[in-house]
């Protein structure tokens, strides 16, 4: 494992300024709070509205950890079911979104443990959906970017990510793909913000090493 240079390590473990937790604007947070209060009184319309507001991100987070589209849908549904049946116990000390994404991450990890496979393992064979996309792309001739190339690029990303541990991969997806802040990630994963920074730093080092090695092999 690459050693973290001392000045950087010391800088990373320095105390940062805490930031107020916020996912989106404070008005959006306030709306979420109101919807949660109504959902806690068994207002189903309020809960459905919460689903519509957060479904994209739940899908994106689950999709970053799991590979299979069917698994992502199943997990996303499970997450909202769990949220509905335990919303009365949610005390709103954290933002609803943080609580929801915490459930999402935990459900994904539980599934992976049950399946006992390393996530994002590179598979030689395409799923049926991917094969259909390739088929469609070979038939198109309107000058759009080659879908096949994009598919290959995405598979490369998945192969790169397979070198990371579950937790590091989750953190990287939350940070780099979903745009969560370090503090939000710390809240979702229930760890120290400085630990998040150090792990992100190391994860990026590993990804970069792998990218450079692939380039060398390619050239």
């Amino acid at each position: 494992m690459a050693r973290v240079p001392k000045p950087v390590a010391l800088a990373l473990t320095g105390l940062g300024k805490p930031r107020a937790e916020a996912t989106g604007s404070s008005a959006r947070l306030q709306e979420d709070r109101e919807l949660v209060r109504r959902a806690q009184k068994e207002d189903k319309e309020a809960f459905e509205e919460l689903i519509r507001r957060h479904q994209n991100r739940v899908f994106a987070v689950a999709g970053g950890i799991l590979r299979n589209r069917e698994d992502v849908e199943d997990i996303a549904q499970q997450v909202f079911l769990k949220a509905y049946f335990s919303i009365k116990r949610f005390d709103q000390r954290a933002a609803f979104s943080t609580w929801l994404y915490k459930i999402t991450v935990n459900e994904c990890w539980d599934l992976l443990r049950k399946k006992k496979v390393r996530p994002l393992m590179f598979e030689a064979e395409l799923s049926e959906e991917q094969a259909q996309v390739y088929q469609a792309s070979s038939e198109q001739s309107d000058g759009r970017p080659d879908v096949g190339e994009r598919m290959a690029a995405r598979q490369q990303v998945e192969e790169l990510m397979s070198c990371l541990e579950e937790r590091d991969r989750t953190m990287l997806v939350l940070k780099e793909v979903q745009g969560f802040s370090v503090e939000e990630i710390a809240g979702i994963m229930e760890i120290n913000a400085n630990t998040v920074k150090v792990r992100l730093f190391r994860a990026r080092q590993r990804i970069t090493d792998r990218v450079r090695r692939k380039r060398k092999i390619g050239s």
Partner: protein
């Protein structure tokens, strides 16, 4: 010298914090220079003078560009409706189970009374059985131990009968 070292560490720490605060670029790939230009002026200058932080910036850019191709899953148009249907189905299932339990709870006092009666009756019968077995065992044992049927006088050669001895 100590102060200079501390100041350097502080500059590195601020630089790394600034890196983490850079917004996402969506799916677009960007060059190192483009990302560097996004940093605050002080941190941007620091990247020019600190090799370690410049390396950190390069790794940041490589990772961002590598992940820009990551497929972001999106829900279908009926996802929320499906979830609400699943919630309703589960609530109905729980109500049915609750219904069974409610019937059990209603019958519970009667069940308790019947069980108690059966226990009492069963217990009494068992005690009676044991007692009667005990008595018959006693009777058989006493006969054997204390059976005092008189031996005939003509049988005992050595001793005379009481009638003969006593006048």
């Amino acid at each position: 010298m100590g102060n200079l070292g501390n100041r350097e560490k502080e500059n590195c720490r601020r630089f790394l914090d600034a890196l983490e605060e850079l917004p996402g670029s969506g799916e677009a790939r960007r060059s190192l220079e483009e990302w560097r230009a996004e940093l605050p002026e002080v941190e941007e200058r620091h990247a020019g003078s600190c090799e370690t932080c410049r390396t950190a910036l390069e790794e940041f850019v490589e990772t961002r560009n590598a992940l820009s191709e990551m497929q972001v899953e999106k829900p279908g148009p009926w996802f929320a409706t499906r979830v609400m249907a699943a919630i309703n189905a589960r609530e109905q299932e729980e109500e049915t189970q609750d219904g069974v339990w409610i019937s059990v709870r209603r019958l519970a006092p009667r069940l308790v009374a019947v069980s108690a009666l059966l226990l009492v009756l069963g217990g009494s019968w068992a005690v009676e059985l044991k007692r009667s077995e005990g008595q018959s065992a006693d009777r058989r044992g006493g006969d054997m131990v204390f059976d005092s049927s008189p031996t005939p006088t003509w049988y005992d050669d050595g001793l005379g009968t009481l009638n003969e001895v006593r006048p």
